[in-house]
Symmetry: C2
Subunit: 228 residues, 2 copies
C-alpha cells in the first residue's frame, strides 16, 4: 500500500475521542436531568449510555429497570458469566476490553439447528435460537436487542415449570419494532417466575430499542468507567 | 445436548417472520405517509426500512437523499462493488443473502495500522480507518453508522485535490450522537467535489442515526424485495 496521507482539514470538529465522550455524556446528563434523577442511582450511568447510543434524550423517558439489575449483572460478569445475545449486531457491539473477565459473548442465530427448530415450532429463527441458550443460561447476562419473539420465547422458557430452564442473572430487554416489541417489554417488566420473583431486567419501553441500545447497556453493565 | 423442547405458549404474539415484516411495513407506510410521499419514489422503500430499524416513524422526517443515490448504490452493488463500513456493528448488520453479487463487506477499524495513524494524526480510530479504505473506495458503497469523525474525514479525503482519492458510488451517512453528528450530515448533504458535483448520499439528519439504521439502509439498497 502507498504512503497514507492525512487529508487537509476542511471542517471544524472535535477529534479527541475521550473529549467527545465527556461532552456527550455532559449534554445527556444536563438535558435528561429530570428523568435520570428518577432512576435508581446505579441505573443512571447505564441510562446515559443508552441515550448516547440512541442520540436522543427522549429515550430516557422509556427506560425502566428492576432495582437489582445493575448489581446482579455486574456481579455475574465479574464472576465470568457469558453474555447471550439474540443478534450478531448486539454481540459485535460489545466492547471486549470493557469485559471484566474476558467473558464469552455468544449469539446462536446462525447455529445449524436453528432453521429446523424454527420450522417445527412455527416461530422465528430468533426465538428458536433462544432455546439453544439453555445449557449456558445459568447465571448469564442475556441481551435481546432485535426480536420481540426472542424475548417472549425466553419468558416462556423461564415460566414453563416443566422445562426447568436455568435462571439468568439479568435480562437486557431492548427489542425494537412495530409488532410485539412494546408488548414483549411490558411482559418482561411484569413477569413472575414459577417459584416467585423476577429475573432482574432493564428495558426501553415502547417500539424503540435495538442492537445499539442493547450493546450500550451491556457495555455500561460490564464496566463502571464512563469513557471509551 | 439434550432434546430441546418448545416452551408452553404463555403470551399472544405473532411468530411468523414474514407476517411481522408485512404488518410492520404496513404500519410505517400508514403512519409516515405524509413524509414518505415527499421523498423521491425509489427512496421510499429505503426510508421504510430505516424507520423499521429505528422503531419510530418520527425518523422519517429526518431522512433526506440525493436524487441519484438509490440508482447509484444498486448499480454499484450489482456490479460487485464492496461495502465499506465504519463500524463492525454496521458490517454485521448487512444481510448477506440480500447482496446481489456476494459483495465484500469491509470494516477496517481493527486493522493493525489504525492506532498509530490515529495517534499521529490526533484523530479518532474511526477516522483513521477511513483513510485505509482508499484502495477499495473506487465505486464502493460507503456506510457511516457510528462516528461523525469518520464522515468528516471521508469528506476531507474527497475534497482534498492533492490526494486524488477515488470516488465511491454512494454514501450512507448515519453517524449518531451529541457532538458533531448533525454537523457531519449537513456537511455531507452540502459537500462539493473539487471537480464539481456530489457523491450521491442518503442521511438521517440530526443527532439520531446509528448502526441499525445504516445497516437497514444498506439492506434496502442491496435488494428491492421488502421481505427478510
Amino acid at each position: 500500500m502507498n504512503q497514507i496521507h492525512r487529508p487537509a482539514r476542511a471542517y471544524e470538529y472535535e477529534t479527541d475521542g475521550q473529549e467527545i465522550y465527556r461532552q456527550s455524556f455532559g449534554m445527556i446528563r444536563d438535558e435528561a436531568r429530570a428523568r435520570l434523577s428518577a432512576l435508581p442511582d446505579d441505573v443512571t450511568d447505564v441510562a446515559v449510555r443508552i441515550v448516547h447510543a440512541a442520540g436522543d434524550v427522549a429515550v430516557a423517558d422509556q427506560i425502566a429497570a428492576h432495582p437489582d439489575v445493575v448489581r446482579a449483572a455486574r456481579s455475574a460478569l465479574r464472576s465470568g458469566a457469558p453474555i447471550l445475545a439474540d443478534s450478531n449486531m448486539v454481540a459485535h457491539g460489545v466492547t471486549r476490553r470493557r469485559l471484566p473477565a474476558d467473558n464469552e459473548v455468544i449469539c446462536l442465530l446462525r447455529d445449524d439447528r436453528v432453521p429446523a427448530l424454527a420450522r417445527e415450532w412455527q416461530t422465528t429463527r430468533s426465538a428458536a435460537a433462544v432455546s439453544l441458550w439453555a445449557d449456558r443460561l445459568e447465571g448469564a447476562v442475556v441481551a435481546v436487542g432485535n426480536a420481540p419473539t426472542a424475548l417472549f420465547h425466553l419468558l416462556e422458557m423461564l415460566e414453563d415449570p416443566s422445562l426447568g430452564t436455568p435462571r439468568p442473572a439479568a435480562i437486557v430487554g431492548m427489542p425494537v419494532g412495530f409488532v410485539g416489541s412494546a408488548e414483549s417489554k411490558t411482559a418482561l417488566a411484569e413477569h413472575e417466575l414459577p417459584e416467585g420473583g423476577q429475573v432482574p431486567w432493564i428495558v426501553v419501553h415502547g417500539r424503540r430499542g435495538g442492537s445499539a441500545m442493547a450493546a450500550a447497556a451491556l457495555n455500561a453493565l460490564a464496566h463502571e468507567s464512563e469513557l471509551a
